[in-house]
């Protein structure tokens, strides 16, 4: 039965009849029922004859009301509590007393306040930690160059497969589609000048110099950067990193180096694949929409692009791979304590690696322009 309290006024005192199940299942109704008890100035009798069942939750809800009334000076008498309902009453008394004290002592955890400069300070701290991590990477790389036998080829190959071979279909597909889109838009604009055919130059040069490598890098950041951070982060939560260390293995060597190396080796290959798919995409569109055939497309292509364009794109790839690998592993190692931090660091890994790739690309652009390439 639902918990209830009936109020009866009787000879100079208020009588409250408690009935029903005062249990956790009816917690909301219990709280509502206690509103019936009010300070009237007369002594109040709480009569528990109709009580069917009571548990800690129900008892507390009743108790806090009684306490509040007693504090406000009301005289309250408890009547007819049956021992079978409240065989834990002594325990509850002690417990509630203890809890009252605990609640008085309880301090809300300090709210996090953001002060100006916090963001900057945190960013600088991350940057500092990143640089330390970079240093460790160099140290372990140097060590591995001196002791090449220590390199874990199996891990490297496994990472190559996961990061590149499995990414190839999606990278190729995106590059193909983006090339089609660019070729289509380019052709539509250039048509106005009667220079439609130059859309081949537009698309192929942009694919080879920028788009192929950037799309690959963004895809890798999303696929592999996040995977590195989540894998290493979960291992860290699971104390696997500590286990590696106490087994005498260096996590940087076992986990980090193979992953970074795999990305450095594989990004150029993936970029090459993306380039080829881009050229194919632009070819498909050109042949389909103009009266060019594949032979003509091929000859336009060879006059439009120089080998330089291709090499410039490819040369950026290992650098991007390096940035993504280092960022992903760094954020994985930065995971601490909670599942939440795995999520946060994984997000950071993707965001930061794409950001770094873009920065590096801008620097490359400037350098290549200065070098007149």
């Amino acid at each position: 039965m639902e918990p209830s309290i009936h109020h009866e006024a009787a000879a100079g005192r208020s009588v409250y009849l408690i009935a029903g199940e005062w249990t956790v299942d009816h917690a909301g109704a219990c709280l509502k029922a206690t509103e019936a008890i009010q300070a009237t100035g007369r002594p109040a009798v709480i009569h528990c004859g109709g009580l069917e069942r009571i548990d800690i939750t129900g008892a507390w809800i009743l108790d806090r009301k009684i306490d509040a009334l007693r504090l406000s000076g009301a005289d309250i008498i408890l009547e007819n509590f049956r021992p079978e309902h409240f065989r834990f009453i002594e325990h509850v008394d002690a417990l509630f007393h203890h809890t009252d004290q605990a609640l008085e002592r309880y301090e809300e955890p300090p709210q996090k306040r953001y002060r100006p400069g916090d963001l900057l300070r945190r960013s600088l701290q991350t940057l500092g930690e990143g640089l330390i991590f970079l240093g460790k990477c160099w140290a372990v790389t140097g060590h591995t160059i001196l002791h090449p036998a220590r390199l874990r080829w199996r891990a490297v190959i496994k990472q190559c497969e996961a990061a590149a071979v499995r990414a190839a279909p999606i990278v190729g597909m995106i590059s193909f589609l983006i090339a089609i889109v660019t070729a289509y838009q380019g052709a539509a604009q250039l048509k106005r000048f009667g220079a439609e055919i130059f859309s081949i130059n537009l698309v192929t040069i942009s694919v080879l110099r920028e788009m192929g490598v950037l799309l690959t890098a963004i895809m890798l950041a999303g696929r592999s950067g996040s995977a590195f951070a989540a894998e290493i982060g979960t291992m860290k939560l699971n104390e696997e990193i500590d286990a590696l260390k106490t087994t005498g293995l260096e996590p940087m060597e076992v986990l980090v180096l193979p992953r970074i190396l795999a990305l450095v080796l594989m990004t150029p290959l993936l970029t090459f694949f993306a380039d080829m798919m881009g050229l194919l995409g632009s070819g498909v569109l050109t042949v389909a929409t103009t009266d060019t055939n594949w032979l003509l497309y091929e000859s336009r292509l060879t006059t439009a692009i120089r080998m330089n364009d291709f090499w410039i794109g490819i040369s950026k790839a290992p650098v991007f791979g390096l940035l993504i690998g280092i960022t992903g592993c760094f954020h994985g190692m930065a995971v601490a304590n909670s599942a939440e931090s795995v999520g946060r660091e994984t997000t950071n890994a993707v965001v930061h690696s794409i950001f770094l790739v873009m920065c590096a690309d801008a620097i490359f652009s400037i350098v290549f322009t200065l070098l007149d390439l």
């Binding site: 709280l31 609640l103 301090e107 304590n337 909670s338």
Partner: protein, 256 residues
């Protein structure tokens, strides 16, 4: 004896060719502390997961307080789940929440109570398991192993469940903390009239707290009072309870 609160009949669980349970029967009665033991790989965890409805058995049925849990839908299952408290071996506390938030979570989810009352109730549960109130605002990663177990128990008790499942409650605790935990469980049982099902390898806990013991041997369960179980002729049971550790735990117990 009264009606069993948990009753499993003809449970079959197997992985591939290997049978873990073969027509296993199990009864747990209200108000008792029932200990499940068995060698590694005899399916203690699978049994616990089956009872909790987390694992669908190949055959057989489990009824909890009269409800068949195998054929239950999502909503009915959830409703039944809130009447059980489960303490996991490693606490399984939500790592992103503080201890008090962990305890408040099931209450906030199920009870239509204002935040302050939920907080007060959570503080009661914190006191019930003997955690200092300074632990309230700590994150699970900042707690010791024993405190994690206690916090896990407090969360299991959040909704005043009549039935409590404990997975290895004292594993990884020092003997003093383990004794404290045994007393805590006995105390909760006598005060709240809880029914407790625990998987444990701690012989002290087994002899100190359990009213009945169920031993998983040969894909079946042999259940009975500790004294009866110890005289069971099964070789594994004889070895388990006849070993040095068991004898030591037993002599220590009789000395008291």
């Amino acid at each position: 004896m009264s009606e069993p609160i948990i009753s499993a009949r003809g449970l079959v669980n197997r992985f591939g060719e290997q049978f873990v349970h073969d027509r296993l029967d199990l009864d747990v009665y209200p108000g008792e502390i029932f200990g499940i033991v068995g060698a590694s790989g005899t399916g203690k965890s699978v049994l616990l997961r089956t009872l909790l409805g987390l694992h669908q058995p190949e055959a057989g049925q489990v009824s909890m307080a009269g409800h068949d849990i195998c054929g239950l839908g999502e909503a009915a299952g959830r409703n039944l789940h809130r009447h059980w408290g489960v303490m996991y071996q490693n606490g399984a506390l939500f790592s992103g929440l503080t201890v008090i938030e962990n305890i408040e979570m099931p209450m906030a989810e199920y009870l239509y109570l204002p935040e302050e009352v939920v907080h007060e109730l959570a503080m009661i549960k914190l006191g019930m398991v003997g955690l200092p109130d300074s632990a309230a605002n700590k994150f699970p990663a900042e707690l010791s192993g024993g405190m994690v177990k206690r916090a896990g128990l407090a969360r299991a008790l959040a909704l005043d469940p009549p039935l409590l499942f404990l997975d290895e409650p004292t594993s990884g605790l020092d003997p003093i903390a383990a004794d404290g935990f045994d007393r805590l469980i006995l105390g909760l049982r006598s005060q709240l009239g809880l029914t407790v099902v625990m998987v444990t390898h701690d012989l002290d806990t087994l002899f100190n707290t359990c009213d009945r013991i169920g031993v998983l041997v040969d894909q079946h369960m042999v259940a009975g009072k500790p004294v009866d179980i110890m005289h069971n002729p099964n070789p594994w049971i004889q070895e388990y309870f006849g070993g040095h550790r068991a004898q030591r735990a037993l002599t220590a117990l009789t000395k008291i």
